[in-house]
């Protein structure tokens, strides 16, 4: 079971509270997690990555703990802690406003 933490705007859009949990087949990668996430919550298509190019949106980042995974290739296996569900994959919208 893979755990995902979405930013508040996307939790509202997907009508979820707290973390999202998904069954993601091995290998667990950014791409496979986002594919499962968009299958379960199609309203999130286009909000995290481009619908056609699958490129991560510029103001969105991916973290596991304190490790920034944003610039890893989308088919790179995620850390074992994320794949196993011990740690969530955290989707972060860039902080701005100050």
């Amino acid at each position: 079971m893979t755990r995902i933490v979405l930013p508040a705007h996307l939790r509202t859009l997907a009508k979820v509270r707290g973390e999202v949990t998904l069954e993601v087949p091995d290998p667990v990668t950014q791409r496979s997690v986002l594919d499962e996430l968009e299958d379960r919550y199609p309203m999130l298509k286009g909000t995290i990555r481009d619908q056609v190019t699958k490129q991560r949106r510029a103001f969105v980042r991916f973290f596991a703990g304190e490790e920034d995974l944003s610039h890893q290739l989308p088919d790179t296996p995620l850390p074992a802690e994320v794949a196993s569900g011990r740690e969530p994959l955290v989707v972060v919208g860039a902080m701005a406003g100050g």
Binding site: A8, H9, T12, L13, P42, T47, V52, R57, G93, A94
Partner: protein
């Protein structure tokens, strides 16, 4: 008695204001889609309970929301706006080539007769059509592929297609406006387009009478007189009596001929509303943006506008007197009024 529904798009969500035909006591619902920019909401004339909303942020991109119950409940619709083919480039502010990139939907224009048909004007400038109630979108790429397309440049707010006028008698005829390319019209449902800027005169561009390149802020027309178009240009208020083939200035004695919105009185096709503001270096206070004015169809006519200061003002007597019907909203981006039986 009729009911009024005012759809308000703001920088931080949408609001729905309702009142009976007396237009004196208003109920405010919202915010909907809180925290997101709502550039525009508009109801279908063919099914007024079907309302489309453009929801976006710079972080998470574009979402289209649709309500089929007059705004009580909403569901996301399709948000994929793919340019047709390889989009190529237009000109950037400095004249260098810049790739065509979708940024957001500025304006949604539902068909006058078919609730499943809706048009979207987007940034970077293009026109999309949906025939399935907003689930999927196809570009009418003849517009962007016009010979002049590679030379279009953005206005200060981006290169947006912000106005779509549908002809009341002929769905094949449309007029659109783009900042800062100007006006284009089609008579074949969007396959081919002609620039419609003859008579416009713009200081500050190399050729002040150019066929393309004018900063048109908004257009309006009255359904009883579809060949008469009105325009608020960056400077100048203009009128066309031939469906946009040529224009004449009608700024007259306005205190300023700069502004953004323009609307036509619902019962008097020759009565036009604009909001003159001083520009460009004297924007000290609030502004009224291009899609932030609308009229109802009651008698006497109601006129409504929203400000970047978060007020929505209404007049129930065709503009003779005004009062705020709500204030302290986020900055208002758009206003659309529905007059319901």
């Amino acid at each position: 008695m009729s009911t009024l529904r005012v759809l308000v798009g703001t920088r931080k969500g949408a609001f729905v204001l309702t009142a009976d035909g007396n237009r004196s006591d208003w109920t405010v619902t919202g915010p909907l889609f809180s925290g997101w920019e709502i550039y525009h909401l508009k109801g279908s004339p063919a099914d007024p309970n079907r309302i489309f909303a453009s929801q976006s942020t710079g972080w998470f991109g574009q979402v289209i929301q649709r309500s089929d119950d007059g705004g009580l409940t909403w569901a996301p619709a399709g948000n994929n706006f793919p340019y047709d083919g390889v989009p190529g480039t237009h000109q950037w502010y400095d004249g260098t080539p810049h790739p065509w990139e979708f940024a957001r939907v500025w304006h949604l224009e539902p068909s006058l007769t078919d609730p499943d048909v809706v048009f979207a004007g987007v940034e970077d400038a293009a026109l999309f059509r949906s025939g399935d109630g907003g689930q999927t979108w196809q570009e009418l790429s003849g517009l962007r592929r016009h010979d002049s397309g590679a030379h279009w440049q953005p206005g200060a707010g981006g290169m947006c297609l912000h106005t779509v006028l549908l002809h009341p008698d002929d769905p094949a005829r449309m007029v659109v406006a783009i900042s800062a390319a100007g006006v284009f019209r089609t008579e074949d449902g969007g396959q081919t387009w002609q620039p419609s800027n003859r008579g416009l005169h713009s200081e500050g561009i190399p050729d002040s009478d150019a066929e393309v390149g004018h900063c048109v802020h908004h257009l309006a027309r009255h359904p009883s007189n579809p060949d008469v178009l009105y325009m608020q240009k960056h400077w100048d208020v203009m009128r066309s009596d031939n469906g946009g083939q040529s224009w004449e200035e009608v700024s007259g004695n306005l205190p300023s001929d700069f502004g953004f919105p323009i609307e036509v009185h619902p019962h008097e096709p020759d009565t036009v509303y604009v909001v003159p503001i001083t520009s460009d270096s004297e924007h000290f206070y609030v502004n009224v943006l291009r899609d932030a004015m609308s009229v109802d169809s009651l008698e006497p006519a109601g006129v409504y506008f929203g400000t970047t200061g978060g007020q929505v003002y209404a007049s129930a007597d065709s503009g003779d007197s005004w009062s705020p019907i709500v204030r302290d909203l986020p900055s208002v981006l758009s206003i659309e009024v529905q007059t319901l039986p």
